[in-house]
């Protein structure tokens, strides 16, 4: 625990130009501290803000200077208060000097830890580096940075700079400053263990700071055997590993509330009982493993299993090189490992570097057989792909992906797209619309930050969980918080992208037609969302929000048509279609019946047309056709034939077979209603 203790100082720029993203910074910082509270509660954290009106730090008292830098929280073991501190960052008024802040942060770390926890001291700077830093008393700014970097290296400190660049307009003067600052910050990454990342959106700001610090452990150290006579010393780490949802414990409320020391935990107990005699518990030593083989279950003792178990030697062997195109991307099976040369072995670094560079050049990959540990009961076949480093202080390495064995593949045959009938093939215009969509709905536009880059995309579920955890720690009954805006950009299309590409999307929609398969029963229709009201606004509200929408259940007098449309397209129950149709029919009959010298006819016609449209969409032609016949009969009986004439003059026809498959009316009979009074339906 304490062995891996980390000392961290957060340096946060709170000057006016940062105010817009402070909420995100507060979120990401509190997430970081919350995760520490859960996973590494011995870590110590300090918080420094700069760009504040006031000044409060040791250095200003000791040597003067360092204005507008405030130590909000001296380094201390993480606790709940720290979360509150980072959630209430002050809004600064001055321009921040990040170099001063770095010095203050280093000072805090050195004073607190001196020579201990070497390599576990970290400074995390979040700034937009928009303001110029002050000139030092002696030498140049560069010299100053070099000195600082050396000091950091001596004390075993790491620095991480997150530079936020919103897409606001800047004048050229500012550009110069930014350029200079970037150059200065880059010196750190050359001289010491430092990393600088630039982010442009608030979403990637949330993902830019690593909130969970897992100490990397090698899964293999040893030889990469190119042949039995030629071996390269390598270390293998995990490159990706899924950060799990915290494994919560099961809660028992059985303990009396007075018991202060109750653990509330629940233990699990497994008992194995004989199938015949349920009361008989079989002790573990009397159990034997059985494997199914057809109808039989074959008992195999662990001794037998041990005796014949496949037990390869620990080794990593090269099987050969092959063209990169022979290994397709979708064969990658698992999380990814990384092969680096033994960091102390210069020759190994060169050997890997030569291989990586040549493989990249030739577009080759290497196939390996790996047994990571002695005693491991299986082998792994995988592919090495070169990762040529662009920085001269980072060595070349390889990524390793596990490939499937013959048994892991299920080969299904799928129809070839080219052999599908022409009706399922897109035509030239449709293809063009699709091309445009694929080009224009661009997440990695030239000259701008690639959005949703996995490296900068936070896990929305975990963000939400920790947010809720914090809320609950204050109010146990707190409701699950909604997903906030920056996180919604991960789960939903970016509104900005959608609105700038409205034309392209509209065109795409126009070119393709979707309809429900009329052969299906209504109860199974569920996939097609209400396309009649598929505007962009509706699209971007997701289900969570849409539950609060007003539900239309009856037809109003003035808004009958729109109410009917809303009702018939409700998808929460299949009954709404018939309910809507029924209500509409009554409405029309009412209108016709209560009409005085045809004053309601236009209104009734409007409703009738809406009903017809609805019935075509929902593929309910009979409902409409029968009703039309009915109203015709009804009008003739009730001396309202003027309405029939009105309808005939307005060209209201039956729904025909071409419009809806279930209809029994042929195209030529569509108008038959007003020719002969009794149509065949």
């Amino acid at each position: 625990m304490a062995r891996n203790k980390e000392g961290l100082v957060l340096l946060i720029d709170v000057s006016p130009s940062m105010h817009s993203v402070l909420p995100e910074i507060q979120k990401v910082c509190s997430l970081l501290i919350q995760k520490k509270l859960v996973y590494s509660k011995y870590d110590e954290v300090g918080v420094v803000v700069f760009g504040t009106e006031d000044t409060e730090n040791d250095l200003t008292n000791e040597v003067g200077g360092y204005e507008h830098v405030t130590v909000l929280q001296p380094i201390k073991v993480v606790d709940g208060d720290l979360v509150d501190v980072v959630q209430r960052l002050p809004l600064g008024t001055a321009s921040g000097d990040f170099m001063d802040a770095i010095v203050v942060g280093m000072d805090l770390l050195i004073k607190k830890f001196q020579e201990t926890i070497k390599g576990k001291k970290r400074i995390c700077l979040i700034t937009n580096a928009m303001y110029p830093i002050k000139d030092p008393y002696e030498g140049t700014k560069e010299d100053q940075v070099y000195t600082l970097a050396e000091q950091m290296a001596v004390h075993g400190m790491k620095i991480e700079c997150i530079i936020y660049r919103g897409n606001q307009k800047r004048d050229p003067h500012e550009d110069n400053i930014i350029e200079e600052n970037d150059k200065l910050l880059n010196i750190f990454s050359k001289k010491t263990k430092a990393k600088a990342v630039h982010v442009e959106s608030s979403t990637s700001l949330l993902g830019a700071l690593r909130t969970r610090n897992v100490t990397p452990v090698t899964i293999y150290r040893g030889d990469l055997e190119i042949s039995s006579a030629f071996k390269i010393k390598v270390w293998v780490y995990k490159k990706t590993a899924e950060e799990r949802f915290p494994s919560l414990k099961k809660y028992s409320d059985k303990a009396p509330s007075t018991d202060k020391f109750a653990t509330h935990e629940i233990k699990l107990d497994y008992e194995y009982k004989s199938v015949q005699d349920q009361s008989k518990v079989v002790p573990p030593e009397q159990r034997i493993k059985g494997y199914r083989y057809g109808p039989q279950v074959i008992p195999i003792s662990s001794a037998e299993l041990e005796a014949v178990k496949f037990r390869p030697e620990k080794s990593v062997k090269l099987l050969g090189f092959t063209n990169a195109s022979n290994v397709m991307r979708h064969y990658y099976m698992k999380d990814v490992n990384i092969f680096i040369a033994d960091p102390g072995n210069k020759k190994a670094i060169i050997a890997l570097s030569a291989l990586a560079r040549t493989m990249k050049e030739m577009n080759k990959v290497a196939i390996l057989r790996c047994v990571w540990r002695q005693g491991q009961a299986n082998v792994v076949i995988g592919v090495l792909t070169p990762n040529v480093s662009e920085k001269d202080n980072i060595a070349d390495s390889f990524y390793f992906n596990v490939l499937p064995f013959a048994e892991d593949i299920r080969e299904f045959q799928f129809p070839s797209f080219n052999s599908l009938p022409a009706s399922l093939q897109p035509n030239a215009e449709q293809q063009e619309a699709a091309d445009k969509l694929v080009m224009m709905l661009d997440l990695a536009p030239a000259g701008k930050e690639e959005s949703l880059q996995p490296e900068f995309t936070p896990n929305p579920v975990l963000e939400r969980f920790y947010h809720h955890l914090e809320l609950k720690s204050k109010h146990p009954d707190a409701a699950v918080p909604p997903l906030d805006e920056s996180l919604k950009r991960i789960t939903e299309p970016d509104r900005e992208v959608i609105s700038t590409n409205k034309l392209v999307i509209d065109e795409f929609r126009r070119h393709f037609e979707l309809k429900e398969n009329p052969k299906l029963k209504k109860s199974t229709r569920r996939l097609l969302k209400d396309k009649t009201s598929g505007s962009y606004e509706n699209q971007s509200t997701d289900l969570i929000a849409s539950t609060s929408e007003v539900k239309i259940e009856t037809l109003g007098d003035l808004t009958a048509v729109s109410d009917f449309e809303a009702m018939i397209s409700r998808r929460d129950s299949p009954e709404w279609v018939s309910k809507a149709i029924y209500a509409m029919k009554n409405k029309i009959l009412d209108l016709v019946e209560n009409s005085f010298e045809g004053d309601n006819y236009p209104k009734a016609l409007e409703c009738l047309i809406a009903l017809r449209r609805g019935c075509v969409i929902e593929q309910e032609p009979k409902q409409f056709n029968n009703f039309l016949s009915h109203i015709n009969r009804f009008c003739q009986e009730a001396n309202l034939s003027s309405f029939c004439e009105f309808l005939a003059s307005k060209d209201v026809t039956y729904i025909t077979k071409t419009e809806a498959k279930d209809s029994e009316i042929e195209d030529q009979d569509a108008r038959s209603l007003f020719v002969k009074p009794e149509p065949k339906s």
């Binding site: 062997k317 064969y331 060595a395 070839s416 969509l437 299309p493």
Partner: protein, 773 residues
């Protein structure tokens, strides 16, 4: 007709409700019931039931008619006094003067006697009626499903709740069992040597079919042990089937029904079926001019009768037909041909009406292509578009043919159907498939080692504070800031619901943005479907083509309930090789990591003073090596998993009681021999010298041994000196070893070159053994 068979009057007659062998417990009679009630109950309980006098010939005819349809009716033989009761229960039928017995009831309604039944059949209403009453569902209730035998793997105990969903994905969901009848054409034509196989050996189509089946059942017995299989040859000399039809031979072994779960013995004997085939079964054309025999008709009949068991709802029923004859009735002329074609098609249609799918695996040879449309298109129900999509197997080599057969033999199982929201309200329908998933040794069933009977595991929850047994708790907690923060399961699932459960398009990126390390688990394959939303396929194809042409992939959010995730959709073009599909067209859904899932390992060993980089010369030497050691035909899934194979071999050997374990070749070892070939050896040596200089081996030795060696030596020295403080013999004799610390015990072990692993007791006993005590 009534008087043909004499009534048997028995003075002591109480009841004699005999049961046919196919039925059992549901008909057990409760003595207190009256005869009428009992008959009523039987009628209502049995979808198809015949009441007859014992030994009645009409009843026999009716039974034959039913069994030809694949239905086995319940037959009750009644005594004379019971017949009266039967006639009473029929009175509501209008009271027409018809024979009372035999009488058939379908779905509780009286059909009548033989005439009534035949009338119904001739009018074409019998089969629909049988389907309607769910005769098959009835049979299913008679087959006890082996549930509750599979026990939880004890490793599951520590698994997260969250993993369960995911595991469902990996394990093929046991959505239902599969009943398969392999119908293999064994006509002499199948034995013609047609395709050149491996090792220049020529193989017949028959060999291809049989070896494919043999391979597939070996996989099936382990992965899907509940599936039931029958293998049936047609166009045979001998006959062996329940219906006693000519030209059909059902292959089987002892202690096994024709359609049954696979057994070790069955598999073993099927392996050698080819050797004894001509002797035992024999090949002979079953459809010849001048005879009315129709072996194909018979074969489908037999298969359908076998597949009678099990409900169509819970089991997939399939007939897989292997043949190389595209026109089975080609030798027949005239009306007979028409008649045979018609009846065979009708038979196939009846089978399909009962929920059986018939799949054709046509084998064609290079000089004679299998023409599906000449007969089989009608049989398997292909028309227009589907016909165009049906690809005959046209492998030129045996391996190709084998591979393609394998692809078709397994049923395509979709994981789920999802909707893909594209933009502006447009949403299409997709099916997802798991094409690549790690195969693991079958589940463990715990047995009682004394009786070898399966055990049932029971899980109980115990409150750690009170020791009380509690119900499965619905609350979870996380200790946070020294407090227990409680979450309900509803809250947890609400937290995870960040999006609707579907796939939502966010945009497109160039393929270069998808890095090699953007991976977490095997992808899902997506393929469009027009089943519910027509037009989906068209949109999908358009996007697919654009993405391939523009070299872009789609980024989407997949809101599954277990782990909602950002995914990349990579379009894959169809790849056809050797006449078969190697890669299906569609998109692969690649799960992308989040920022905290990616570890910045590269920066871990950053060296501010810069790291060495290979020189051009070194890179060139490496290039020469890469060129030399080239796996030209590497294909991703060419190796079988040695660990899995050796496990299977063990289980198989144990199942067959074989003493010897078959040797499993580890295909994954590198080609050591090839590496020593002069060209490769020279390239290796040059690269090595170029990087490491001449003294590579010495340097390695010195470094490797030197470092580890000195450290170990130091430790040993220290241990020897420290261990010398103690009088080990005396401590052991006095039983005082246990008073020492583990560290102290280890001095002795290290000094004497013993392992230091294990618990304290283990260490002590190891010392005692070493001391000889």
């Amino acid at each position: 007709m009534q008087g043909v068979h004499g009534y048997r009057l028995r003075s002591d007659a109480v009841f004699r409700l005999e049961l046919t062998p196919t039925t059992s417990s549901p008909l057990a009679i409760d003595i207190s019931e009256s005869t009428e009630m009992r008959i009523q109950r039987l009628i209502s309980e049995n979808p198809v039931i015949i009441f007859s006098r014992s030994g009645c010939c009409m009843c026999h005819v009716m039974k034959r008619l039913f069994s030809s349809l694949g239905v086995h009716p319940t037959v009750i033989e009644l005594e004379e006094d019971e017949i009266d009761a039967l006639s009473e229960s029929q009175n509501d039928g209008g009271g027409e003067e018809e024979t009372v017995a035999p009488a058939v009831f379908i779905g509780g309604a009286r059909v009548g006697g033989l005439e009534g039944l035949v009338g119904l059949h001739l009018s074409g209403h019998l089969v629909p009626r049988l389907v309607e009453v769910g005769v098959l569902a009835f049979c299913q209730s008679l087959i006890p499903r082996p549930l509750g035998l599979m026990d939880m793997d004890p490793d599951d105990v520590f698994r997260d709740d969250e993993d369960d969903n995911e595991n469902d994905l990996y394990q093929d969901r046991q959505s239902g069992k599969e009943l398969v009848v392999f119908l293999v054409d064994a006509s002499p034509k199948m034995f013609n040597i047609t395709c050149p196989g491996e090792d220049q050996e020529n193989a017949s189509h028959f060999h291809v079919a049989v070896s494919c089946i043999a391979q597939s059942i070996k996989v099936q017995i382990i992965n899907r042990p509940y599936d039931e299989v029958a293998i049936c040859f047609f166009n045979t000399r001998e006959k062996k089937n329940l219906q006693d039809l000519n030209g059909v031979y059902v292959f089987n072994v002892a202690e096994r029904e024709y359609l049954d779960g696979l057994t070790a013995r069955f598999i073993k004997e099927f392996d050698s079926v080819e050797e004894s085939f001509s002797k035992v079964i024999g090949s002979e054309y079953g459809i010849v001019p001048g005879s009315r025999d129709n072996s194909l008709y018979n074969a489908i009949w037999v298969a359908q009768a076998l597949l009678r068991k099990g409900s169509a709802k819970t089991a997939d029923k399939r007939i897989l037909l292997f043949t190389n004859e595209d026109d089975p009735f080609g030798r027949i002329k005239g009306v007979t041909k028409l008649d045979m074609t018609r009846t065979t098609l009708q038979r196939a249609k009846d089978a399909q009406d009962l929920g059986i799918t018939i799949e054709l695996l046509p084998l064609s040879s290079p000089n004679e292509e299998f023409n599906v449309s000449s007969f089989y298109a009608d049989l398997i129900g292909l028309d227009g578009d589907e016909l165009a999509q049906f690809m005959p197997l046209a492998g030129e080599r045996l391996e190709d043919m084998n591979k393609q057969l394998r692809k078709r033999m397994f049923k395509k199982r979709k994981v789920r159907r999802i909707s893909f929201l594209i933009a502006g309200g447009l949403s299409i329908e997709l099916n997802t498939y798991a094409l690549i998933r790690p195969t693991v040794p079958g589940k463990v069933t715990w047995l009682d080692s004394v009786t070898n009977l399966p055990l049932k595991s029971e899980r109980s929850f115990i409150c750690a504070d009170t020791g009380a047994i509690v119900k499965e708790p619905v609350k979870r907690f996380q200790t946070y800031k020294n407090e227990d923060i409680i979450f309900t399961l509803d809250e947890l699932s609400e937290i995870k619901r960040v999006s609707t459960g579907h796939l939502r398009l966010l945009g497109f990126k160039p393929l270069s943005c998808l890095k090699d390390y953007h991976n977490l688990k095997p992808p899902l394959f997506v393929f469009p479907s027009d089943e519910e939303v027509m037009g989906s396929t068209c949109i999908f194809i358009a996007l697919h083509r654009s993405m391939i042409r523009l070299k872009r992939f789609a980024v989407a959010f997949y809101g599954s309930s277990s782990r909602p995730q950002l995914v990349g959709l990579v379009a894959q073009e169809e790849i056809i090789d050797g006449g078969g599909q190697v890669e299906p067209p569609g998109m692969h859904m690649i799960y992308l990591p989040y920022s905290d899932d990616i570890r910045p390992i590269e920066e871990l060993h950053m060296d501010a003073s810069g790291v060495p980089v290979a020189t051009d010369d070194q890179i060139q030497k490496a290039a020469a090596l890469v060129k030399r050691v080239d796996l030209k035909d590497f294909s991703v899934c060419q190796f079988s998993n040695p660990a899995l194979q050796s496990h299977y071999a063990l289980v198989q050997a144990m199942a067959l009681d074989e003493d010897e374990m078959p040797e499993i070749a580890d295909e994954t070892l590198p080609d050591e021999e090839g590496m020593t070939r002069p060209g490769i050896a020279r390239a290796l040596e040059e690269f090595k010298i170029c990087v490491y200089g001449e003294n590579y081996d010495e340097e390695e030795d010195k470094k490797g041994h030197g470092k580890a060696g000195t450290k170990r030596k130091q430790l040993t020295d220290e241990a020897v000196s420290k261990g010398a403080y103690y009088d080990w013999g005396k401590l052991a004799d006095d039983g005082k070893l246990k008073d020492l610390t583990v560290q102290q015990l280890k001095y002795y072990l290290t000094a004497n070159n013993l392992t230091v692993a294990g618990k304290k007791e283990a260490l002590i006993s190891r010392i005692l053994t070493h001391l000889g005590k």
